[in-house]
């Protein structure tokens, strides 16, 4: 795998400006994000590193339209998401974003195919659920319920579900967190392939520094702020990673 040639030349699809997020927990105000500025570019593979409580999940939730900042602005292309309201955020998530969660969050009462169809039913230009599952190597598990699948398989169904709508950006929150070493690598390979073959922008949140090597950029967060941004000269392939 080689460095994506267009990574730096590509226009920014996300532009975050002075993002602040404060939670009220009982009587304590928690400052999850303190004036974060961030840009994400089309087609790049970003790894967001940081310890628990550093604000990386909050940032991802805000970029992904799951949450709104307390102050500051988030632009997706020319659109200001922080001003849009629920209707805009729903449309944004429906059309442009794919999510992958640590615990897969499949609907237990639906089969693999039906879980993917849940998304293709409402997306404007989806692939067929079978096609998406073939991309993650699960063509032979179409009619299995989540309880009949291993953790790795469940996560790959989740990836299929996320990419089936052909999203512009894929947000992955600790996608390997619940998986063993080799299964985790398998899942990362699928994500790298989606980035490469479909040109989807991929953002992975992890506290596993080993994964950083496979990204175009590695952004490290600490205490609700961006601590460092590193650009890898060469993206490692998932099988080269060690942790």
């Amino acid at each position: 795998m080689s460095l994506s040639p267009t990574a730096t030349a590509a226009p920014a699809i996300f532009h975050g400006h002075q993002i602040v997020k404060t939670y009220q927990m009982g009587e304590v105000a928690v400052h999850a994000l303190r004036q974060v500025d961030i840009d994400l570019y089309e087609g790049e593979f970003v790894v967001l590193l940081g310890p628990s409580g550093s604000g990386k999940s909050t940032l991802l939730n805000i970029l992904g339209g799951l949450d709104v900042p307390t102050s500051g602005d988030v632009y997706f292309r020319q659109q200001n998401l922080s001003q849009g309201g629920d209707r805009l955020l729903t449309r944004f998530r429906r059309e442009s974003i794919g999510f992958i969660f640590q615990f897969y969050n499949l609907i237990p009462s639906l089969t693999a195919r039906e879980n993917v169809a849940l998304v293709t039913d409402i997306a404007p230009h989806p692939m067929r659920p079978e096609e998406a599952l073939a991309l993650v190597g699960l063509s032979d598990r179409l009619d299995h319920f989540p309880s009949q699948l291993s953790g790795g398989q469940q996560q790959r169904v989740a990836i299929a579900r996320a990419i089936a709508k052909r999203p512009e950006v894929l947000f992955c929150d600790e996608p390997t967190g619940a998986l063993d070493y080799s299964t985790g690598k398998l899942v990362l390979e699928v994500l790298a392939r989606v980035n490469q073959e479909l040109g989807t922008t991929v953002v992975i949140i992890t506290h596993n520094a080993g994964i950083g090597a496979m990204g175009d950029r590695v952004i490290t967060m600490r205490d609700g702020q961006i601590h460092t941004i590193e650009r890898n000269q060469r993206r490692a392939s998932p099988d080269e990673l060690e942790w």
């Binding site: 449309r91 429906r94 999510f99 969050n105 009462s109 409402i122 579900r161």
Partner: protein, 789 residues
């Protein structure tokens, strides 16, 4: 099918036990509404059609005798549409195969069939022939009850002579939809029948040639009924008019209206209870579903499902429940409604009744259920909609527990750890616990109300037939007889005691209120007909003054000591003021009493009697009956025993069927509520319970924790249900359906009724407990601990 709908289907299958319970309750709500409303509408429609097709009149009046020429005067009263004069007489009958004398009402009809007011609907046979003076058309119920056939004859005492009447046809009339002679509660078709006879033949027999003694009138639209009645009474004053009245006081119409009112009340009360409970259960189940599916909801939202789509998804579940409940409820409601309608038709004789559960009834019932269910679901679904996707992704925060009141009061050492868990759980969700309690209380209350109905009816029986009416036989005479009659009657076979009475038709007037009625003058001491006070104790008849039934005093706004104006409608027709000497709490009718001497004095007449109460030796009753049949001065013979039998048979069967239905309803409610509450508790706490099992609690101990919570709820709910039932019965007791002029249900609920309610609820609870216990035994310990909450 969309994937999200597939999820709905699978969720429904997973929740099937709870869904079935709610579907059944919704079905009961819809069924009760469809049953009551469709029965009401079917009867009302039949009534309206019958009335208009057979020209049921608006005003009625009986009188002694008026020449036919007076009719022209009557027809000229402003507001009168059409009028018909008639001859109507009540006679004693000798029916083949019946020992005791029966009573017949002979009503005149034209010799040739033509459209008349209060027309007859010929059911079988033919119309009378003009030249045959003995031909009559009889009511089919009388013919059937006495196993008579067309062509059979019965004997009637007509003007003091026995005369044969030949039945040539059977017919119904809107005037006798409820076929009673006037004072009793239930039709006795064997001993009372209506006969239509040619006007000329009847007039000749009763010396009413060219005259009449009964008038029926229709009013023009917008006419003032009171004004017409006032003018009519003025005209008939000198012809012995007994006071005109409108449909409201026409016995048959009044009974049907009271029953229709009752149906309308039940058509509101029952559905409100069921749908209220269904709404609560849906709320409970959905709230739980939402909390177990927080992460699923979050995923749906993360992938771009809008709040509307997610909200609709959960609402669809509600609509499926309503749809299933509707299918079941409409079927059940139509079946019950048809049976109910036919049940009423046993008492009310319509020429035809078409059972109809119209689209509007059904749409209305389903619509109301859907609205109730959606209201119940609203809160839970609102929770889904307002759940921000990022928030939903995090597991639900652990429930916060506090020491309970009991513990804060320092009483915890009397509680086992399991007991503490139960108490804390109840206190943590006070609203949920309260609602479950209300649901169970409702079931208990329904049963208490059922008990109230049968207890009240028992009470009426006891008071009316043991305390008030103690005679074996009541005789009425064709005209008032002198004091000699007491001695004459005592000579008849088997007569042990004779207490003659005088009954006088009157119009009561107090202020601007008037009321037709009659005064019964009782001889003192009156042992066969007792007056009862508020405590249902016998009180003596006062020497002076008048004693009214409390209900009549209420209608006239009278109290003890007030001067009541009495306008006598027979004899010299004196008008007198009589002080109200007392009130009696009779439960049936609007009787008024005086001392017979005081009444005769008021009439300015010598001692005379219009009837007598007899105590007889049952051994000699057959002989007595045949002697009575041969006594022309006896107009009617009524037996207490027959009335009791009639009452038991019909009312007993009715209240039995009604109680069975109420019991079924109550069982469904309490089982549904208890099962749902326990099932939800199980799903919320299966991790906790599995943990307890792993650390060594036995199956029985964890069952105690889970079911103990429900048990505590039931224990708390039953007394509340008793109170609620008491209150509901009290409210029903105030409604005109059971507090009518005809009959007033006393407010009485026996301890056995409360106990019965407890028993049924306990059985329903035990059934649900068994089901839950079965599910507890299948609790997979490892799987439960592995799944992420």
């Amino acid at each position: 099918m969309q994937s999200i709908d597939r999820k709905l289907l699978r969720d429904l299958i997973t929740l099937r036990g709870q869904v079935i319970a709610i579907v059944l309750i919704v079905a009961c709500g819809i069924a009760s509404m469809v049953t009551m409303t469709s029965t009401y509408q079917s009867l009302q429609l039949s009534q309206t059609q019958y009335y208009s097709q057979y020209r049921f009149t608006d005003v009625f009046v009986q009188l002694k005798r008026a020449p036919e020429g007076v009719m022209a005067q009557i027809r000229e009263i402003p507001g009168v549409g059409q009028g018909r004069s008639r001859v109507v007489e009540t006679v004693t009958l000798d029916v083949p195969g019946l020992d005791d004398p029966a009573t017949g009402r002979l009503v005149s009809i034209p010799e040739q069939p033509r459209a008349i007011l209060n027309d007859i609907a010929l059911q079988s046979g033919r119309y009378i022939q003009p030249d045959r003076l003995d031909e009559v058309i009889a009511s089919p119920a009388f013919v059937a009850a006495n196993q008579l056939a067309l062509g059979d004859t019965i004997s009637a005492v007509i003007n003091g002579r026995w005369q044969e009447l030949r039945i040539v046809g059977t017919a119904l009339s809107p005037e006798y939809l409820y076929e009673i002679s006037g004072t009793e509660l239930l039709p006795d078709n064997q001993r009372f029948g209506v006969f239509w006879m040619g006007r000329q033949a009847l007039a000749t027999a009763f010396d009413l040639d060219g005259a009449f003694n009964d008038v029926v009138l229709t009013l023009t639209p917008g006419a003032n009924e009171q004004a017409v009645i006032f003018r009519l009474d003025q005209i008939l004053e000198r012809y012995g008019g007994l006071g005109a009245y409108g449909r409201d006081n026409q016995v048959s119409h009044r009974f049907l209206e009271d029953d229709l009112d009752g149906l309308q009340v039940m058509a509101v009360i029952l559905p409100v209870i069921f749908l209220g409970i269904a709404a609560f259960l849906l709320n409970m189940v959905l709230a739980r579903l939402v909390s177990t599916q927080r992460d699923q909801i979050a995923v749906l939202k993360a992938f771009g499902y809008s709040n509307l789509e997610v909200g609709l998804h959960f609402l669809k579940l509600v609509l499926v429940v309503v749809a299933l409940g509707a299918i079941l409820g409409i079927g059940l409601g139509r079946w019950l409604g048809e049976n109910f309608t036919h049940f009423y038709v046993q008492y009310y004789q319509f020429p035809s009744v078409q059972y109809r559960a119209g689209a509007r009834v059904i749409v209305g019932a389903v619509g109301v259920s859907a609205i109730a269910a959606l209201i119940g679901a609203f809160h839970a679904v609102q929770g889904v909609v307002s759940l921000p996707p990022a928030e939903a992704m995090r597991p639900e925060p652990p429930a916060s527990f506090k020491p309970t009141i009991v513990e804060r009061m320092g009483l915890q050492r009397w509680l086992s750890p399991a007991g503490r868990i139960i108490l804390r759980n109840l206190e943590r969700r006070p609203l949920q616990a309260l609602m479950a309690m209300v649901g169970i209380s409702m079931a208990v209350a329904i049963l208490v109300v059922g008990g109230y109905f049968s207890d009240a009816i028992d009470q009426i029986m006891a008071i009316q037939f043991q305390t008030v009416q103690r005679e074996d036989i009541t005789l009425t005479f064709t005209q008032p007889l002198s004091g000699q009659v007491r001695h004459d009657l005592a000579q008849l076979s088997g007569v042990l005691r004779v207490e003659p009475f005088r009954s006088v038709p009157v119009r009561f007037r107090y202020g601007h209120r008037t009321r037709l009625g009659s005064i019964t003058g009782l001889s003192a001491p009156s042992t066969l007909r007792q007056l009862i006070d508020q405590d249902m104790q016998a009180v003596p008849i006062p020497d002076d003054g008048i004693v009214l039934t409390t209900k009549l005093a209420e209608l006239l706004h009278l109290k003890i000591g007030d001067p009541l104006t009495v306008e006598v409608l027979e004899g010299a027709r004196p008008t007198r003021q009589v002080p109200v000497a007392g009130l009696v709490d009779e439960l049936v009718g609007l009787a008024t009493y005086m001392h017979v001497d005081a009444l005769n004095a008021l009439m300015q007449e010598d001692t005379s009697y219009s009837g007598a109460y007899l105590l007889v030796d049952q051994q000699q009753i057959t002989a007595l009956y045949s002697q009575l049949k041969q006594t022309p001065s006896v107009a009617s013979v009524a037996q207490r025993e027959t009335a009791i039998h009639q009452f038991n048979e019909t009312i007993g069967a009715t209240s039995g069927a009604m109680n069975a239905v109420l019991m079924l309803f109550a069982t469904i409610i309490s089982a549904g509520v208890i099962y749902n509450a326990a099932r939800i508790a199980l799903s919320e706490r299966c991790r906790e319970l599995a943990t307890l099992r792993i650390i060594g609690f036995t199956q029985r101990e964890i069952a105690f924790i889970l079911l103990g919570e429900q048990g505590a709820l039931i224990l708390a709910a039953v007394p509340v249900g008793w109170l609620l039932g008491y209150g509901l019965a009290w409210v029903l007791n105030q409604s005109p359906a059971v507090d009518s002029e005809m009959v007033r249900l006393p407010f009485v609920i026996h301890p056995a009724s409360y106990l019965f309610a407890l028993l049924v609820t306990a059985l329903a609870a035990a059934g649900s407990g068994l089901l839950i216990g079965h599910q507890l035994r299948r609790l997979d310990l490892i799987a439960v601990l592995k799944t992420r909450e």
